[in-house]
Amino acid sequence: MSEAKVKKTYTKQDFTSDQAVRWCPGCGDYAILAQTQKVFPDLGVDKEDLVFISGIGCSSRFPYYMDTYGFHTIHGRAPAIASGVKLANPDLSVWVVTGDGDGLSIGGNHTIHLLRRNLDINVMLFNNRIYGLTKGQYSPTSEIGKVTKSTPMGSLDRPFNPLTLALGAGATFVSRTIDKETKHLQEMITKSHAHKGTSFMEIYQNCNIFNDGAFSSLTDKETKLDTVLWLENKSPMIFGVEKNKGIRLDGNTPTVVEIGDKFSVDDILLHDESDYVIASLLSNMTYNDGFPDPIGVLYSIEDTRYEDMMMDQIREATKKKGKSTIQDIINAGDTWVVK
């Protein structure tokens, strides 16, 4: 909270609570928890200044396992609760942990409103494209036609693309990572933390019980080089086993081209984290056959933050009207005396 505090040196153990972890064996959530606990000592935040807020879902159990302040709340409302935490004390480092159901189905509205307000809160959305906790119904990110308990003949809803939605809501930081990519996961956590404003991080997470292998093409050794587009700011969008495929703009239309005779590296689109159009066309490659899945920071810009401006107004008002008390307000107005 205060500048004067001496920053402690922590280890992973310091962020591990005494609670037994209760996910299914093999669940992708374990990896995310481990990477979080591993990278947190490096963030330079005192442990008592960290707050994890979650909704309801398997993923939302997360706060119990972090030895920080935590609040496992109700379904879908974590972004709003976290907003209250941050506004009450802007010095805290506030993290929201949510799932594709929690954050995009029942909680979709709070998520998009948080993004537009741009409070400095870090959102980790565990996307397993399924409702885990309620035992396997399809979610708003499930691909169309998905057969689940509630859709025996296949789901009918066109899925949300969380990154596209976040961009549409005015997010200032939009990224994606994968449970199994431990190093990258750590990097994205670090970047989320560094970003001033709401950071939205989608984490592809395997639910090995109800949606096993949803992201296997992105994590299997044999396929992943062809299916993942690793994003690096200012670098050309190249991928493929032989690093010979790239994204090229044909007019405004992105296409996958082979680097070789017809196109050279110079024809390949450079990633630019500050470019909305690029972010938006990247995000749209998801669910889009023929395109790799972009992983990394899609978008990152600086913009005004709600809590800063709120504190500014309070300061300004206090300066203008002078430090007053409620007694002044009570006494104000037309008064008269009865003797």
Binding site: M1, Q19, D46, K47, E48, D49, V51, I53, I56, P63, Y64, M66, D67, T68, Y69, G70, F71, H72, T73, I74, R77, A80, I81, A82, S83, G84, V85, K86, L87, A88, N89, D91, L92, N109, H110, H113, M310, Q313, I314, E316, A317, T318, K320, K321, G322, K323, S324, T325, I326, Q327, I329, I330, N331, G333, D334, T335, W336, V337, V338, K339
Partner: protein
């Protein structure tokens, strides 16, 4: 012509006109002036539900009633002595409530064929003499008069016509012998950037005043002596404003930051508006995306050590139920204000009602007891809000405060409190004493209040996790054990019940036994008190008991009830609190249940009382 002056004890005036006629403002100015003059008073605004219904329509009529007196009064009055009707629709909508013998003052110029038709009059009531048998009717050409008064100001006719409410105000000032100067001062500030409007309104007001003075139409003026209120400094106060001040006072006394999160809804929005103007007190307000985000943001702030408050009405309260359940489980201090309005559903958004009481008690899944209290007058909203905050903090619990549309928008003279005199609110945040074996124990309760320790983010070594799943006593860990659950359910209930210990004895107005006890809660207090005063004046053995705390109920209520042969409870609902009291004490509480979107009148109560005890 000579004018006589009559002294009266009590007057009820109703201003009524089109939404565009500025009736609320006129009423407000009359109220402020009356307050300054030193009468006791009580007001009741009555807004149309439409933003601005078609000019001249019945749906667009806006009204404001004020009762003022030389005595201590409790209600804005039942039937008005005098109705100011700025157009036919206003006359039509309100005429039937004036008592025979009452006075009507109309702006004749607005009684055009078009307006008459809009109001549904076949013939002009000012001409067809239908009113004259029952009322004294004054037809005044207000529009014409202000046009003349402002002729040389170079304003558009439309602008000039807008001042006619000040003409009416001036006339009423003359009739009731009140000074115009405070309103002139107020106009000067209000329109400081538009001096021509100041001038026009002042001229209109003076014209009205002089009209009373000089024409031969009005022969009698009335004076109302100062009320003998307890000594002190007074101001006029509107309920929602008083409530906002109460919240701010609680924040200041507890040295907590006030965090208000909410979503606009009539008639609660003014609390948000008022608090958002007090940034210089360090108050944070957050207009959320909906009521759920309103209360949950507040819950987040409470978790982080703020005094969290949210206010809403009707449908908004229904949306907050789930989150209140979480607050009960998390045992965090939180104040939820319900400014009740007519229901169900969207219902009657601008009207008053007391029909959310059972919802306040039971509108959550599971056994989720919450303290509930209700304020009883506009000024009392201050104290009720303060008390709600104090209890929330002391017992670490969400508290529901019920007010209603009538209290929220009504006003009364209010003795200005010194906040040093308010009961102190001591916040003791958690410390090492709640740490056992290196672990903070978030549910290690205070022995007396059963409050759990409040440790907030930023406090070293008190890191902990809470949530909405049932938790183990002391450790707060998730726990599904049958016995633990039973124990926690009982403990949460006991915590709320234990508040009764500090509430003291109930104050009965009248004898401690008798033929009839009239019970009130919330905004019906005034009407009940007036009725009991009137009945006792007629030597009836009637007493009055007002119930401020609904959960827990006063400890001595059971003993009190059995001392009376009959118990009557007027409520603007179908008998909600009486249901609870019947269940609790097995006493045959009779209801007087009028669900008409407005306060129950003292006359209705007297009648019901008489038919019970004959």
């Amino acid at each position: 012509m000579s004018k006589t002056t009559k002294q009266v004890d009590e007057v009820v005036i109703r201003f009524a006109g089109d939404s565009g006629d500025g009736m609320q403002l006129t009423g407000g100015r009359f109220t402020e002036t009356t307050a300054i003059v030193g009468n006791d008073l009580s007001t009741l605004p009555d807004f149309p539900a439409e933003i601005r219904a078609p000019a001249g329509s019945l749906a667009g009529v806006s009204a404001f009633q004020i009762k003022f007196s030389s005595r201590d009064i409790h209600t804005p009055g039942d039937a008005p002595d005098i109705l100011v009707a700025m157009n036919p629709a206003a006359l039509k909508a309100h005429q039937k409530e004036i008592l025979p013998g009452g006075t009507i003052i109309c702006n004749t110029n607005a009684f055009t064929p078009k307006n008459l038709k809009l109001a549904g009059y076949e013939t002009n009531p000012l001409e067809d003499k239908t009113l004259d048998d029952h009322y004294t009717v004054y037809s005044v050409e207000m529009s014409k008069m202000v046009a003349l008064a402002c002729e040389d100001l170079g304003l558009t006719p439309k602008l000039v016509d807008r001042t006619k409410n000040f003409f009416a105000l001036g006339l009423l000032f003359w009739i009731y012998d009140r000074p115009t100067q405070p309103t002139k001062d107020w106009l000067a500030i209000k329109f400081s950037k538009k001096p021509e409007l100041v001038e026009a309104n002042v001229r209109a007001m003076d014209a009205g005043y002089n009209y009373g003075e000089t024409t031969e139409i009005f022969t009698t003026r009335y004076t109302v002596d100062k009320a003998s209120l307890p000594p002190g400094t007074y101001r006029n106060v509107v309920g929602n404003y008083a409530l906002s001040m109460g919240l701010a006072a609680a924040a200041e006394k507890s040295k907590l930051n006030l965090f208000y999160g909410g979503y606009p809804i009539t008639p609660a929005s003014d609390i948000l508006h008022t608090l958002s103007a007090w940034k210089h007190l360090g108050i944070k307000t957050f207009q959320a995306e909906d009521e759920i985000a309103g209360i949950t943001s507040v819950l987040g702030a409470a978790f982080t050590g703020s005094l969290g408050v949210t206010a809403t009405s009707g449908p908004g309260i229904s949306l907050k139920g789930e989150s209140m359940g979480l607050a009960v489980m998390a045992e965090l201090p939180l104040v939820i204000i319900n400014v009740q309005r007519g229901g169900p559903s969207t219902g009657l958004p601008t009207k008053t009602e007391q029909s959310d009481l059972l919802q306040a008690m039971y509108g959550r899944n599971g056994e989720a007891p919450m303290p509930v209290l209700a304020s009883s007058t506009p000024g009392d909203c201050f104290y009720a809000a303060y008390e709600a905050c104090r209890i929330a903090i002391k017992y670490m619990t969400p508290v529901m405060l019920l007010t209603d549309g009538y209290l929220a928008n009504g006003s009364e003279p209010w003795q200005v409190p010194n906040i040093d005199d308010l009961e102190s609110i001591d916040v003791k945040f958690a410390d090492k004493s709640s740490v056992v074996d290196g672990q903070f124990m978030p549910y290690l309760r205070d022995k007396k209040t059963l409050a759990r320790p409040w440790a907030i983010p930023g406090m070293k070594d008190l890191e902990h996790r809470i949530g909405g799943i049932e938790k183990e006593d002391v450790t707060g860990n998730v726990n599904y054990e049958p016995d633990n659950h039973h124990y926690m359910v009982k403990t949460r209930a006991k915590k709320v019940e234990s508040i009764a210990d500090e509430l003291g004895k109930s104050e009965i107005f009248g004898n401690k036994n008798g033929d009839l006890l009239i019970l009130s809660w919330g905004g019906t207090r005034g009407a009940c008190r007036s009725a009991v005063e009137a009945l006792r004046a007629k030597k009836k053995k009637v007493s009055h008991l007002h119930i401020r705390w609904i959960n827990p109920l006063p400890k001595d209520l059971g003993e009190i009830l059995i001392k009376f042969k009959n118990v009557l409870m007027p409520e603007i609902n179908s008998g909600q609190l009486s249901k609870i009291i019947r269940a609790e004490f097995l006493v045959d509480v009779k209801g007087l249940n009028l669900v008409r979107g407005k306060p129950i009148s003292s006359a209705d109560i007297q009648q019901a009382a008489n038919s019970l005890i004959g």
